[in-house]
């Protein structure tokens, strides 16, 4: 009596595509969205928007539209722009550690806030 051997067609070749289709073998965790650039206009003696929400790694550009000079300066002095004349701009990459209130060093009644979310957050 002969033994019957049963084989599955394709055998091992089916295994890898199946694993890929299940997402196994790929890197764990959410994908990071690409960094964005955000603009804060300094106009009419105010930061616009007054509260800006970004992700860590995004770039923020402050542009002075007023004819008097301004700065963007962290309230705890952790960071500051140079004096910005009319039309001048300054950019900074957002760090989670530097989120918080900021103001104009020349006109400290001009206040704003920076909210920085983790880079992987959607």
């Amino acid at each position: 009596m002969s033994r019957r051997r049963t084989r599955v067609a394709g055998g091992p070749l089916l295994v890898v595509p199946l694993l890929v289709a299940c997402g196994l073998g790929a890197e764990d965790g959410p994908e990071r969205p690409p960094p964005e650039t955000h603009t804060v206009e300094i106009r009419g003696m105010a930061f616009r928007p007054a509260e800006l929400r970004v992700r860590a790694g995004d770039t923020i550009v402050w542009v002075n539209r007023d004819f008097v000079p301004h700065t963007a300066t962290a309230t705890d002095s952790a960071w500051t722009s140079p004096p910005l004349g009319q039309g001048e701009q300054w950019r900074r990459v957002a760090l989670e550690s530097e989120a918080g209130p900021y103001l104009c060093a020349f006109h400290p009644v001009m206040e704003a806030r920076l909210v920085v979310d983790p880079s992987t957050q959607e």
Binding site: G44, F67, P69, A105, F106, H107, M110
Partner: protein
């Protein structure tokens, strides 16, 4: 402080019925331009006195901002006047302003330390209140040239910020 520059400015420029008649008040564009420049220059002079006298960092920061910003306004006003072919014309209002500012300066000269700081900043509060009123109620309505009118209107947000800054600082100084 017996009188302030701001009070006198208010009296001369913000009396509603008389201020409406620009011709009677001698308020043509040349005079308005001169008043605007004079008012800015007087605040610069006051700020320079504060920098010579005060050792308070916040008072000095305020004074430096006054110098920086008001020099900018003067530069813009002068550039506009030159482009429009308007020669700012000396007038009674400007002379009265200057005379009163000189009197304030004399009063401040006799003060030192916290007394100077409080008096200087209080005067800045009343001065900016009066200038804002004069600009909005008299200079802008009576300016004939649209660009001059626009320049004056565009200065108001900065004046309001100066006023808010001075008020905060005055409260802080009074609380010490």
């Amino acid at each position: 402080m017996k009188t302030t520059t701001g009070t006198l400015l208010l009296l001369f420029l913000a009396l509603a019925p008389q201020a409406r008649n620009a011709a009677a008040q001698g308020l043509d564009d040349a005079a308005i331009a001169h008043i605007a420049v004079t008012a800015n220059q007087l605040d610069i002079t006051g700020a320079e006195q504060a920098l010579e006298t005060s050792s308070d960092s916040e008072v000095r920061r305020f004074a430096e901002t006054m110098i920086r910003d008001h020099r900018g306004v003067i530069a813009r006003a002068a550039a506009l006047a030159e482009r429009l072919g308007v020669t700012p014309a000396d007038n009674e209002h400007s002379r009265v302003l200057a005379a009163q500012a000189a009197a304030v300066r004399d009063e401040l000269t006799g003060l030192r330390g916290a007394a100077f700081d409080r008096a200087y900043v209080k005067n800045e509060v009343s001065y900016h209140e009066a200038v804002i009123g004069a600009v909005e109620q008299t200079l802008v309505p009576n300016a004939s040239n649209a660009e001059l009118k626009s320049l004056l209107q565009n200065v108001v947000p900065a004046l309001r910020t100066h006023l808010e800054h001075a008020r905060h600082l005055s409260e802080e100084l009074d609380g010490r």
